[in-house]
Symmetry: C2
Subunit: 469 residues, 2 copies
């Protein structure tokens, strides 16, 4: 089992790592994905952390149906136009043809508004803050494990507020929750900002996005937070009686991140040997590999395993006797386990063990008595170092551009920062000629914006350009 | 908002409690269900506990696709016959008619065997122990919230073993996991045993079931564990090379429990005032209700709230000023919160608070300094008491019967225990004439079995009869 070269064939490297590290494989129906135990374990660690962060904002989890009546989707004009090509439709059920076809949820704004319109009566019922963990179906013609799959897992938050200002603030707050989670937990720095009109969610008034840079310099959209204004409220009659007894439409937001983040994790941190997992999100943070089968080594390995567990470290003792120590080293490196602890008779004679750090490959000898402390310190340092490295790369590979030629060169290798006049046809031209798009309009804008790097007309926004997954 | 009388109109009482306690409501598509935040919070507490218990058996979580090719379902003869009437089928997707219709998973034996047949090569790969938390669709003609819904949430375990003995043991082990979880956590005692051939899972060689008694004496199947033998292995060619280098089919099991357990929780413990939640599974274990808005009361309530939280008790301070204390009492009683803590200026003057226990209605005065300890003790006692009460009822309402007339009388009010000859037409007769079925053939069988209570022929098994949801 060999993986392709990260630097010469990144797409093949990605496929190899996802499959050989046991993260996922293709399902029998084209575009579907089987998330294997190791990949699902990463998702569970992510879920646990993000769920707590979402609940800390006051949101409560709930569950809405998979099946949405076709008529619901059709109500919001932009929504139906945006999602129609991606829908999967149930036409037969219980042995008979259905009177109304059922759409499998591509997102849940419509079915949730149907409930909200019954749940919300008065200003006293607001805000309503709901989150749902669910599977989603969007028919995918060019599927790619984790990045684009016909079915994926995600969380989708849906909120309703009495005022526009509250909805505006919530849209930004949830984007901030995602940024903190992805930077602190996944060690991936982000470019955050608003999407252009062309890239906006179907039915939103504003879409905020977070974009990460992958190893090949391409952008991956890691999550979005949408300001829905009153678009869905008006078609679903989601109204409340205000303090003056007047009917008002609610203001809404929705926001989500998905199993796509696992793809981002692979492509942001991976190296020639395979996956590199930041300790916070690693299902196995440290693996103990006995170098030789030996009663004393076994006993020491078991004790260390217990000691690390007691300290809350997710540790695994690899005591398989069917494969060699060398095979195990490669296997756990491929799987991205942050710290490897080697334990052999020679080390043990000196009451020592060897710690090997996954991101740097550094090897150190430590006394067994201090091993737990050293592992903890190594995990903490690796988490910080990974984020810092990725941040440096993001800065270095984001080039300020002032003309079209430089823009085209820059996006071939990373991101470009430059001025844009706001015209959709410039966006289209860039996409056609350089396969790049405007990834985000950052929140912090300079006082003076230069000429549009595409057409030379007066710039309206400073934006970040990039090729994207 | 009033709920129907539990004793005179139990079905309406159930509907009222599920809706008014905020557990669930009907979705727009007939048979689908919206699990509201309070209902979903119960599911989350259950999931967390059961997931840990399942992982402790060595199983790992994974995720398999929602879409199953129609041809997969068709491969196992009994499986397709059993599930055909319940399938929902996708025929259009991505704007085009599909070449092969896709079935929405009614259970995942087939799609998981497709993976297992690739994952398993050698005896070294066994056992494979997989669990999945997922949504399931079975078209339901007589839907009832939580009990029978077209879409529901569940976990399904799927295992593959080298020997029949291992699969037999796993089937029983997982049933035991369910029994312990449901008795210890949900405080519901169970009748456990094997299902008759007629009630077996479509494709299994043996189905074990756990049956709980509801308030009205009817049975609710709370979970099942299936011994699949080699049925699916043979149609999916799930084979391994044994130690002598010979191809062998694996032996398999599958087992699951679902959101149906929430319905069981409601119907087993509920009373005239609504829901009664065993403390272990209650999302809110104690609620603090200040009797009057008063700065000193507020401060004491906040402090108590903090103190209880620190002790790991799931507590809520109900400081709404839009409703009266009396309204709050009713509301939290309806929602089944185990302990209510009332705090008023008079109590506070004596440095006291009032604790009210949900299941018994007992009221006690306690010094505030000892309140945390008292709440803890009350929660622990309530958990034990509820299980003991339900166990007494189960025993009292399970009547030993020796003839058909007594059987018919017994199942009108509860369970009946008696002999059965093993004939399917006796089962059919009982179903037709008394709306009752054989719920289980208990594992412990008496040495001598009397005459069949239905036909009078020689009995083969001692069984438990009951009407069922």
């Amino acid at each position: 089992m060999k993986i392709a070269d990260l630097n010469t064939d990144f797409p093949q490297w990605y496929q190899d790592v996802v499959q050989q590290a046991g993260l996922a494989e293709n399902g029998p129906v084209r575009g579907t994905m089987i998330i294997k135990p190791y990949g699902y374990a990463i998702w569970e660690v992510m879920q646990r952390e993000l769920d707590a962060r979402i609940k800390a904002t006051g949101a409560q989890n709930a569950y809405f149906p998979l099946f949405i009546p076709q008529s619901f989707i059709n109500r919001e004009k932009e929504h139906v136009e945006g999602f129609s090509p991606e829908l999967a439709v149930v036409t037969y059920a219980g042995g008979a043809k259905l009177a109304e076809p059922l759409v499998i949820r591509p997102t849940s704004e419509t079915i949730i508004n149907d409930s909200f319109s019954r749940w919300i009566k008065s200003y006293r019922d607001l805000p309503v803050l709901i989150n749902q963990w669910a599977n989603i179906v969007r028919w995918e013609l060019r599927p790619r494990l984790f990045l684009r799959t016909t079915e994926f897992l995600w969380q989708e938050g849906h909120t309703a507020h009495a005022t526009k200002a509250e909805a505006d603030a919530k849209t930004r707050q949830m984007l901030r929750v995602y940024i903190d989670f992805i930077e602190e937990f996944l060690a991936i720095p982000l470019v955050a900002g608003e999407k252009t009109t062309g890239e906006r969610f179907a039915g939103a008034t504003q879409t905020f996005s977070i974009e990460a840079m992958m190893h090949d310099g391409k952008a991956l959209q890691m999550g979005t937070s949408h300001n829905l204004g009153q678009n869905f409220a008006k078609v679903f009659q989601t109204q409340y009686l205000d303090e003056k007894n007047k009917q008002q439409y609610v203001w809404q937001t929705s926001w989500g991140v998905s199993t796509r983040m696992i793809g981002g994790l692979v492509m942001a941190h991976g190296d020639l040997k395979g996956l590199v997992l930041p300790p916070a999100v690693a299902p196995i943070q440290a693996v103990i590999v006995p170098i030789k089968t030996d009663p004393q080594v076994d006993a020491a390995a078991k004790k260390l395993n217990q000691d690390l567990k007691k300290q809350g470290i997710r540790v695994k003792l690899d005591d398989r006797d069917s494969v060699s120590a060398g095979f195990k080293f490669n296997d756990w490196e491929l799987k991205g386990v942050p710290v490897r602890i080697e334990l052999g008779p020679k080390d043990l004679a000196e009451k020592k063990c060897v710690l090997v750090r996954r991101d740097t490959g550094e090897k150190h000898n430590f006394l067994l008595t201090g091993a737990v402390k050293e592992v903890k310190a190594m995990l903490a340092d690796m988490q910080t170092t990974l984020l810092a490295k990725r941040r440096t790369e993001l800065t270095e590979r984001t080039v300020a551009v002032h003309n079209y030629d430089n823009l085209k060169v820059a996006v071939a290798n990373g991101f470009a920062a430059g001025a844009w006049c706001g015209a959709a046809n410039d966006e289209a031209k860039l996409k056609e000629e350089a396969k790049a798009t405007i990834r985000a309009i950052p929140f912090d804008q300079p006082e003076k914006i230069g000429a549009c790097v595409i057409c030379g007309q007066a710039g309206r926004h400073q934006v970040v350009f990039g090729r994207a997954y």
